[in-house]
């Protein structure tokens, strides 16, 4: 039983890390989004 758990756990750890990393990267992207949107809005106003 322990051997089977290891078999799935070893590669499974990468899947779990993938999910965790996905959350971190999405949060990173959200950190940027408002700043970029703000810049876009200012550019638009200048254009008008």
């Amino acid at each position: 039983m322990g051997e089977l758990i290891f078999c799935f756990g070893y590669g499974g750890s990468l899947i779990v890390l993938g999910l965790i990393t996905r959350v971190f990267i999405l949060r990173m992207e959200k950190d940027v989004a408002p700043q970029q949107d703000q810049t876009d809005t200012i550019d638009e106003k200048v254009g008008i």
Binding site: E3, C7, S13, I15, I20, F24, I25, V32, Q36
Partner: protein, 534 residues
């Protein structure tokens, strides 16, 4: 003889690269952090190459051969998480600080020369011990292969890594580490099919390893346990693997030879991607290496010392061309770690101790010269210790590396996220964590048997956390400290942020796909043959 020629050729290439790149080193930033120009490939190469050494290919391979391949892989499950935790919780903030060394980061973060000095001294002591262990492992290997004396082998090793590191600094270490990363990765991946073929083919080799009467339980999840074994009970074995795995995860996250690699990354996205590739590489390399070692037990069960098991396999269970790649790969793993360690020690002595204690600012030219002199001096001391001290590859390596988990771990994470940690807390935590590990090791040395959950590192981490908490009750946090922390918490936006983010967003998927492939490989090369043996 042909193995020696292969190794000598690889040595000459590394030294030549060092000589060529030394001409391109124009200032201290290039010498310390390679001009912060590292690509994903290069930072990954450096992370993995400075992590894997003779401790992995000799010490841990020997431990695995003695009866614990799966237990060691369980340790790696926890250990490898250090790259993701490290880059997201410490490495990227460290990179944002634009420091040249990790102690410099601590000094600037807490606006304290004492904190910087404490971090630098622990770097020098801890890494020097690790450097001794790795150099000795490589010298044992070189002496075994070439037939020269251990002392002469040690001298050759010393000349090679000291020459290219001193000449070209981080620039040469970065290029050589990447080449070395390719060599030992290739060696490990190619070794598996050939060793299995020599051991009777697939799946017979694994079935034989699982049913070998000389090593019962070799392929069980807990390895060989019992009154006469290294591990008492299965639960003790598991606890040992989890604790050491978590400790190594902390080592990977914050140790100077891992976290400082992010200082050389071109941008934050590169740092994150490198951390992810390094995780995948470590998980894959260890799996291939330890399944190979399990198969070797069926070919020869009395290799002594067991640390030579992978070298024996390279010379007796693989074709000559692959044997040359494997022994050169193990030497490469050792050299890459030695080079990184020496570079870090030299940088810390010059920039964090000499410059700070004399309270003077060196010019770039003076800094380069002082760094080179420091590196040569330290490497001579390491050489002398290596000659005097008997080799013990795995355990000195484990002791030295884990010192950082206790000494730096709590401060490193707190330096980024805590708003209440003071310089007094940071200083006490670094010193107490370091002393706690030494204290635990001394208890062991003088015959006090500590339970597995009271590993010296655990003692060190607990004391370090207590010291951080109590110490932070004293002293005040200055405006400069708050500003520094606020600055590193701001994410730098790259000029081509959208493109960079689009690439980085693919990386979680790479991790998950690799996970599925690894499950399939583990099932095929481990679990399925094991069911045939039952």
């Amino acid at each position: 003889m042909v193995y020696t020629i292969g190794i000598i050729c690889s040595f000459l290439i590394y030294v030549l690269i060092g000589i060529v790149l030394s001409r391109k080193v124009k200032n201290s930033e290039e010498y310390y952090v390679s001009g912060r120009s590292g690509s994903t490939l290069m930072i990954t190469g450096m992370l993995v190459a400075s992590f894997l050494s003779t401790v992995s290919f000799m010490g841990e391979a020997g431990f695995s051969y003695e009866g614990y391949p799966i237990l060691l892989l369980i340790l790696v499950i926890f250990n490898a998480t250090g790259y993701v935790i490290g880059v997201f919780f410490f490495g990227r903030y460290l990179r944002r600080s634009q420091s040249l060394t990790v102690p410099e980061y601590f000094g600037n973060r807490f606006q304290s020369n004492k904190v910087r000095m404490a971090a630098a001294i622990t770097t020098i002591l801890g890494i020097s011990a690790y450097l001794v262990a790795v150099t000795q492992g490589a010298a044992v290997l070189l002496a075994e292969i070439s037939g020269v004396s251990y002392t002469f082998a040690l001298l050759i090793m010393w000349i090679v890594y000291t020459s290219f590191t001193t000449l070209s600094g981080a620039k040469g270490v970065m290029v050589n580490d990447t080449i070395m990363f390719f060599i030992f990765s290739l060696a490990t991946y190619l070794a598996l099919p050939f060793i299995i073929k020599s051991a009777g083919g697939f799946p017979e080799a694994i079935v034989k390893a699982a049913t070998n009467p000389e090593r019962p339980d070799l392929l069980s999840w807990h390895g060989i346990t019992g009154p006469n074994a290294y591990m008492g009970e299965p639960w003790e074995a598991l606890t040992w693997a989890i604790i050491l795995g978590l400790v190594w995860s902390a080592v990977i996250s914050i140790s100077p030879w891992q976290s400082s690699r992010y200082l050389m990354a071109k941008n934050e996205h590169v740092a994150i991607r490198s951390g992810i590739w390094a995780t995948i590489s470590i998980i894959t390399i260890y799996l291939f290496l330890h399944i190979s070692i399990a198969a070797v037990t069926t070919l020869k069960s009395d290799i002594a010392p067991t640390e030579k098991v992978f070298i024996w396999a390279a010379m007796n269970a693989t074709p000559l061309w692959l044997g040359i790649i494997i022994v050169s790969g193990i030497m490469a793993a050792a050299l890459s770690s030695c080079a990184s360690f020496l570079q870090l020690i030299g940088s810390s002595i010059t920039r964090d101790i000499m410059e700070q204690s004399r309270n003077k600012k060196y010019t770039d030219k003076q800094l380069l010269r002082a760094s080179r002199v420091s590196m040569i001096t330290v490497s001579i001391i390491i050489l002398l210790i290596g000659i005097w001290q008997p080799p013990s590859v795995m355990w000195i390596g484990y002791f030295a590396a884990t010192l950082f988990a206790a000494s730096w771990g709590p401060v490193a994470f707190a330096s980024v996220f805590s708003k209440t940690v003071t310089k007094t807390g940071a200083l006490s935590s670094i010193i107490t964590g370091f002393a706690g590990v030494i204290f635990g090791e001394l208890l062991n040395k003088y015959g006090v048997a500590l339970p597995v959950y009271l590993n010296p590192v655990i003692i060190g981490v607990v004391l370090s956390l207590i010291a951080l908490y109590i110490g932070s009750k004293y002293g005040e946090i200055s405006i400069e400290e708050r500003n520094f922390q606020a600055n590193i918490l701001k994410r730098p936006i790259e000029p081509n942020e959208r493109e960079e983010m689009a690439i980085t967003k693919r990386y979680p998927m790479y991790l998950m796909i690799s996970g599925v492939i690894i499950i399939m490989i583990t099932f095929l090369f481990y679990y399925w043959p094991l069911t045939l043996a039952m």
